[in-house]
């Protein structure tokens, strides 16, 4: 009996009877992936117009990107903001997740939901609200204001990841350490933290990406010399199709894919 005549489900449907599902799933998977990566080959085109496949290959648009101060400055700003967001959101989120998880009770559940609101409130509202309030205290167009807003967007992600790691962690280990004479803080740093390390690294990288890819708040809160890459891209997109954006997009895809794949590989190793 070849494999396609064997049962593929609990209801004894054979693989052959499921061929339609495999074909349909393959089509959908292509529809998901191709639009995501199509700009990569296009970015290596020589032409002014984006074509696929490119008639002539070149690095023209990468040169264009690297030689335009506007793009380079925006890239530096984005890296700065994303790194700072990561450095602030990771400890904030981890502290909150740990504190609320350990204390338990109704009050901490309420605080947990309060800290999750950035995921529910439409970002456009946060954007114009902070634009209004930060405008009065001179925080618009500043790195500080943008980092603060991005931190709030990233904290829920950090908290979700760290909380779910804490759920599978046995907190009694801290009590054992305390009963052996360690302080609570030392128990946390020497017993708990090393075991949460992988989750915290994951959370940090996601915080970085959240900030790096964020568009709407950046449109409102960044400007002048502190414009982020996404803000520059968005305003360029509205006017005309600049092939330089294809080159930048390719680099952004490489950045996010690289970060995420390394996490997957690290995670696979950690699980073993």
């Amino acid at each position: 009996m070849s494999w396609w005549q064997k049962a593929a489900s609990e209801t004894q449907v054979t693989h052959r009877q499921r061929v339609w599902l495999y074909i349909l799933a393959t089509i959908i998977m292509f529809l998901l992936v191709i639009p995501t990566v199509i700009v990569i080959p296009m970015s290596f085109s020589e032409s002014q117009y984006l074509e696929f496949p490119p008639r002539e290959w070149s690095l023209r648009w990468y040169h264009e990107y690297l030689n335009t101060p506007r793009w380079v400055n925006a890239t530096i700003t984005s890296f700065k903001v994303a790194t700072l967001t990561m450095l602030v959101a990771t400890p904030f989120g981890t502290m909150a997740a740990y504190g609320l998880f350990v204390s338990g009770g109704r009050m901490s559940k309420m605080l947990f939901f309060t800290l999750m609101t950035p995921m529910i409130v439409p970002v456009i509202l946060i954007a114009i609200g902070t634009f209004y309030v930060f405008g009065r205290i001179g925080l618009v167009n500043s790195i500080f204001g943008l980092v603060m807003a991005h931190t709030v967007l990233s904290v829920p992600i950090v908290m979700i990841i760290v909380t779910s790691a804490l759920r599978t962690y046995d907190l009694n280990q801290e009590r054992v350490a305390q009963s052996l004479g360690s302080t609570r803080i030392r128990a946390f740093f020497e017993i708990t933290l090393p075991q949460l390390k992988f989750s915290i690294v994951t959370a940090a990288l996601l915080a970085f990406l959240t900030s790096f890819d964020e568009v709407i708040i950046s449109i409102f809160l960044s400007g002048g010399g502190n414009s982020t890459l996404t803000k520059q891209m968005f305003s360029a997109l509205r006017d005309y199709i600049d092939p330089t954006i294809a080159a930048i997009s390719t680099l952004m895809i490489l950045l996010s894919t690289g970060l995420m794949l390394s996490l997957q590989i690290l995670g696979g190793r950690g699980a073993r």
Binding site: S9, E10, T11, Q12, V13, Q17, R18, A25, I28, M29, L32, V33, P35, T36, I38, V39, M42, F92, G93, M95, Y98, G99, V102, S108, L111, T114, L115, T117, I120, V121, P122, I124, L125, I126, I128, G129, T130, Y132, V133, M148, A149, T151, V152, I160, L206, F212, I216, T230, M233, F234, L237, R238, I241, A246, M252, I253, S256, T257, L259, M260
Partner: protein, 300 residues
């Protein structure tokens, strides 16, 4: 940690122990303070401020004029209608396309899922702006889709695909699909395979077992996923702004338009408040059907 045993034991130091415990609980609670302050500064105060602005007229007097306008002016009604229609359509299309793929992923052996799941995760990780740009390029007059379809003989002259509702929907569905597939897949994996075996034993055909056992059991996943998609669509800005070409105006775009053209904070805030209320209403309705924290954890 509050351990009840301590309270029961008649101990000389009971008071001191209790005080120490209370102190520790407070310290642990205080750990969430930095994050709470950040939320206060970035969300509570700004949104609260907008809320109060929405009740002021142009001269700063307390009034309902901003909300009145929303009822009286037809342009507002149109924006809300478009937002609602686009959100519903996107959600339905996501279910239609996402369900078969989630089903496929839930049926193959677990060791292969990781590989196929990458096709969902890759777009999920990729910047939304990058994917919107890719669609803008592909949907152009002489873009990939038009050229491909003409070569295949599907249509003769280039169709107008970008800068309209079609383009907006295509882009939004592509961007929202992972948000539907991920929770739906998780829900499908939770279905007990024995239920389907039992159905087969009792004489159900595979088709019957699918429709009468599998689909109903997967509904919580469908509801959770479509709720996330719907709520995200309500406040969506980037993709409709780029792919709609000014022809598809959603609430979030109307808000920025009012700010850019008229600098009217009252009107923009009122729209924002309504958007927020609609979002919470959708979440509240859904929370009656399923646990809200499950949805939130499924979100990312």
């Amino acid at each position: 940690m509050a351990s009840p045993e301590i309270n029961k034991i008649e101990h000389l130091n009971a008071d001191k122990l209790l005080a120490a415990e209370r102190h520790e609980n407070l310290t642990i609670f205080a750990l969430s303070l930095p994050a709470l302050i950040a939320v206060l500064v970035v969300i509570v105060i700004p949104v609260g401020w907008l809320f109060s602005l929405s009740f002021l007229d142009s001269s700063g007097q307390l009034s309902l004029v901003n909300y009145q306008k929303m009822i009286e002016y037809k342009s507002y009604a149109r924006v809300f209608k478009t937002t609602f229609n686009v959100s519903i359509l996107t959600t339905l299309l996501c279910i239609l396309i996402g369900y078969p793929l989630a089903y496929f992923l839930s049926q193959i052996p677990r060791r292969y899922v990781g590989f196929f799941m990458l096709t969902v995760l890759l777009p999920f990780w990729t910047s939304l702006l990058v994917r919107t740009y890719a669609w803008l390029v592909m949907l152009q007059r002489n873009g990939l889709i038009n050229n491909f379809a003409i070569d295949l003989g599907l249509w003769d002259t280039p169709l107008k695909l970008a800068h309209n509702l079609n383009g907006t929907l295509i882009g939004m569905v592509h961007i929202m699909l992972p948000f539907l597939i991920l929770p739906l897949y998780a829900a499908m994996r939770r279905i007990d395979p024995h239920a389907l075996q039992a159905a087969a034993n009792l004489g159900a055909t595979p088709v019957q077992a699918f429709w009468q056992i599998f689909v109903p059991l997967s509904l919580p996943g469908v509801v959770a996923g479509s709720l996330i998609v719907f709520v995200l669509c309500l406040g969506f800005y980037v993709t409709p702004a780029v792919l709609g070409g000014g022809r598809v105006i959603l609430v979030s775009m109307q808000i920025t338009a009012i700010l850019e053209d008229q600098f009217n904070w009252g009107a923009a805030s009122a729209l924002g408040v309504v958007l927020l209320v609609l979002t919470f209403a959708a979440l509240f309705l859904a929370s009656r059907f399923l646990k809200l924290d499950e949805v939130m954890f499924g979100k990312r």
